[in-house]
Each structure stands twice: as structure tokens, then as C-alpha cells.
């Protein structure tokens, strides 16, 4: 018990003194997950919207696949990305394994289906609501998509935040493809795993508090967004 208490105290000292390791790891985590978020959003937001308003032959199958992909265990994603990027794999020559880029790739694969699926749901609802009006007003396809994206922007932001929350807290995949290398690929979650294993609870807890704070921030933001949506303050 004493050890834990001492750990908590040390953790706060690390945070308030802006410990160099702690800051470096936190910034790398943010850099990796925010980059993954931007890439995933660029793919998932238009794709989810397109799925919602476009009827085509394999639409149902595509949606089912998307939902299945959402349930992929991150460790398996890590394994697959590892195999693809390893020296003997098809993309081995690029030398990406154990770099932040590899971690970004893994996170993009993990969160793109999630963001696309939430986007699809929300846009389908909005499209059902707007359909008759937009057809009646003779809108072009571009105008329809622009209207849906603009009026659904809060939901889209919520989808993106959910994706970020998942990315920043993920450990299995990035441990495999990043390797948790000090000053290179060590991020919040992998560092916590390592320090806990070593018995250095101070740094582990300090990083843990940062992670919790980030997760709470994301959830508050989602909550605030859904409230402005509900109350119609815009």
C-alpha cells in the first residue's frame, strides 16, 4: 500500500515538474494518434457518407464487412501489419517496421471502420430526414453531400473523437509494430505496460494519469457536442 502511495506522489511530481520523459512520450502519443485520426477521417467520413446515400449492388455486404472490421482485435491488426512490414513481407523494403509510421498505419486500420460506421449511421438518419426536400429542391449530388456533411458536422466530429479515444488508448497493435523503443516509438500505453512490468510505478502512474485526462477530455467533448445537438444551439 505504501509503495502505491509513494508511486502516486512521485507521479504527480513528474507531471507538475514536466518530466522530460513523460512529456516526450505524451507528445509522441498525441502525434501518432492525431496523425492516424486525420488519415482515418479523410478516408472514413466521405466513405461513410457515400455509403449512406448511395445505393449499389453490394451495399449490404459492404456495411456488414465494415461492422465486422470494427470488431477486429487490435492485436491481430498488429500482427498483420507486422507481417506486411517485416523485412520479408511485401512492404519490407520500405523499412517502416518499428517506426511511428508503422504505428500510425496500425491505428488507421483500427479506427477507420469505427469512424466510417458511426458516420454511416448518422448520415443515413439525416439523409432519410432530408431526402424528399433535397430531391424536391433539385439539388445536385455535390450539393446533397455538402448539405449532409455540414448539417451532420457535430455527429461527424463525435465519430472522429470516438476514433481518437480508441487510438490513444490502444496498446496491443502498436506494441507489436512499434516495438516500444525508447526515444523512438514509445507512447503512453506501451510505456505504461513496460514501466509496470519493471515495477517503476511512478512513471507508469504519471503516464496513466495523462492518459486518463486525455480520455476524459475526449468524452467531455463528445458529451458537450451531443448536448448542443440536442438543444439545437447552433
Amino acid at each position: 500500500m505504501n509503495e502505491i502511495w509513494a508511486g502516486i506522489q512521485a507521479a504527480f511530481r513528474l507531471i507538475f515538474s514536466l518530466d522530460a520523459d513523460l512529456v516526450e512520450i505524451t507528445l509522441r502519443s498525441l502525434q501518432v494518434s492525431l496523425t492516424a485520426l486525420v488519415v482515418a477521417s479523410v478516408i472514413a467520413l466521405p466513405f461513410g457518407t457515400w455509403l449512406a446515400i448511395r445505393r449499389f449492388r453490394y451495399r449490404r455486404a459492404t456495411i456488414a464487412t465494415l461492422n465486422a472490421l470494427m470488431g477486429l482485435p487490435p492485436v491481430v491488426v498488429g500482427l498483420i501489419v507486422y507481417l506486411l512490414l517485416s523485412r520479408s513481407g511485401p512492404f519490407g523494403v520500405m523499412g517502416l517496421l518499428f517506426t511511428p509510421t508503422a504505428m500510425i498505419i496500425a491505428q488507421v486500420i483500427i479506427i477507420t471502420p469505427l469512424i466510417a460506421s458511426i458516420t454511416h449511421q448518422a448520415m443515413r438518419e439525416l439523409w432519410a430526414e432530408y431526402h424528399d426536400l433535397l430531391i424536391s429542391l433539385n439539388t445536385t449530388k455535390r450539393q446533397r453531400i455538402a448539405t449532409l456533411i455540414w448539417d451532420g458536422r457535430r455527429t461527424l466530429l463525435t465519430a472522429a473523437l470516438a476514433g481518437f479515444g480508441r487510438a490513444i488508448g490502444e496498446v496491443g497493435a502498436i506494441m507489436i509494430v512499434g516495438g516500444n523503443i525508447d526515444h523512438a516509438t514509445r507512447v503512453l500505453t506501451t510505456a505504461i505496460a513496460l514501466e509496470t512490468g519493471k515495477g517503476d510505478f511512478a512513471l507508469a502512474l504519471g503516464l496513466g494519469f495523462v492518459l486518463i485526462a486525455l480520455a476524459l477530455l475526449v468524452n467531455f467533448a463528445i458529451h458537450a457536442l451531443s448536448r448542443t445537438e440536442r438543444e439545437g444551439t447552433w
Binding site: E129, D132, L133, S136, L137, T147, G232
Partner: protein, 238 residues
């Protein structure tokens, strides 16, 4: 409005949904002017007829023919849906939307929005979110948004269903003003009183079939079919 509104004909028009015929087969011509009321009980096919004329619903068989090319006909029409569709935006942005689609410049849009907000009595609600308006306010906003493009033909689907007397009166006044300004109006209702107040001519539908079409005073005083007579006398017709 310089041009006169176009006329429209349905020939052999039939609408099937899930294998069931819900409208037609029917042949019908609506003249280029006037205030046509489509009358009939619930489920008669009024909404279906309106949507088919406007082109938001497709015919299973037959054809809709406007006296002008289709693209031109669509551009000159506006439609107010049975339950008004509010964009998740402010009242101001809802009014501006149809004009923005046409790429009008900002100053002209602002002027028209101010003018129409006044006419529909929502000038103090311009910055309120449209989805949070009352039923009567929504209906007026939907009407203003439809009229702001100055359409030649205006479709309305039971615009006063579920509205109180005051809102109904305001909407009817707006419709009469639009009619006077030269807009051709085609509107459904199952409210006989409203039909008497507004119609220049009527179309009476029952179970998807056209039972009678006629000019206003004659239709009310001397209906030709037994069903129309029963409906006018207030019998329950289904």
C-alpha cells in the same frame, strides 16, 4: 413572374407499392392556372398523386407530361411536405437555402430572407433553430422557403393538418396572396371547409381512383358521383 405556369397531364398513371396498386390507373389534366384542391379521406392517394406530379415519386406505369420541358417544369415548382422538413439550421438559413442552391449573391439573398421572414411572421425568430419551432411556425417557414424562389407551381400536402385556427388562417392568407401573385397552387386536404374557402377547382380521390373533377361552386352544390356527395354530406367514406 412573366411566364404563365405550365399545365400538366397524367395518362394511364399507376402507382404500385409492394405489389399493391395505391393510385390509378388515372387520366387527369390540370389547367395552367387556379387553385386546385385534391380532396379525399385518409389513404385515398392524395400524397402519392402530389409527389408523382412533382416528380419526387415515380409512376409504375403511365406518364406525367408538363406543357414545358421536364427540367424547366421542375425548376419552377416548389413543394411543402405533409410534415415540414426543417434543415437543422436557423430559420434564416432555412429561408436562404433554396436561393444559395441557385448561387444567388449574398445581398439579394439577405433582402429576400428579410422580406419573407416578415411575410410569414417569423422576423423575430430568424436566429432560432428551425427544428425547435412550433408546428404552425414550421409550416409557415416551410411555406416561406417554398415561395422564396417565386415558383410558378406550388404543391402543398395538407399544410394545415394539426394546426390551430389562427395558424390555419395565416397560412390561408399567404396562399391567397401567392395565388394573386400568379402562382398556380395544387393542394391536398381532407378539410372540407378549407376546400370551400380556397378552391377554384377540385379533384376528388377515393381508394386511389379519381372519382370526380370539377369547378368549385358546381362541385360543392351538385356533385356528380354518389361518393363525392356522401363525402360532402359528411358521411364516413373510406
Amino acid at each position: 413572374m412573366v411566364e404563365a405556369p405550365p399545365s400538366v397531364s397524367l395518362s394511364g398513371a399507376l402507382v404500385k407499392r409492394r405489389g399493391k396498386t395505391i393510385l390509378g390507373p388515372l387520366d387527369l389534366t390540370l389547367a395552367a392556372s387556379g387553385f386546385t384542391i385534391v380532396l379525399g379521406p385518409n389513404g385515398a392517394g392524395k400524397t402519392t398523386l402530389l409527389k408523382v406530379l412533382h416528380g419526387v415519386d415515380r409512376l409504375s406505369e403511365g406518364a406525367v407530361t408538363w406543357s414545358v420541358p421536364d427540367a424547366q417544369a421542375r425548376e419552377s415548382q416548389a413543394y411543402v411536405f405533409q410534415s415540414p422538413i426543417m434543415l437543422r439550421r436557423s430559420v434564416r438559413q432555412n429561408l436562404a437555402y433554396p436561393l444559395q442552391l441557385l448561387g444567388e449573391d449574398k445581398a439579394s439573398i439577405a433582402a429576400k430572407v428579410a422580406d419573407w421572414a416578415q411575410r410569414i411572421g417569423l422576423e423575430d425568430a430568424l436566429d432560432r433553430p428551425a427544428p425547435r419551432l412550433s408546428g404552425g411556425e414550421r409550416q409557415k417557414l416551410a411555406l416561406g422557403r417554398a415561395l422564396i424562389r417565386n415558383p410558378q407551381v406550388l404543391f402543398l400536402d395538407e399544410p394545415c393538418a394539426n394546426l390551430d385556427g389562427r395558424s390555419t388562417r395565416e397560412i390561408e392568407a399567404l396562399l391567397k396572396a401567392a395565388q394573386q401573385a400568379g402562382t398556380r397552387i395544387i393542394m391536398t386536404t381532407h378539410d372540407l371547409g378549407q376546400a370551400r374557402r380556397l378552391a377554384t377547382d377540385l379533384v376528388f380521390l377515393l381508394r386511389g381512383a379519381l372519382h370526380e373533377q370539377g369547378r368549385a361552386p358546381a362541385f360543392f352544390t351538385a356533385p356528380r358521383t354518389a361518393e363525392a356527395k356522401a363525402f360532402l354530406e359528411g358521411d364516413i367514406v373510406e
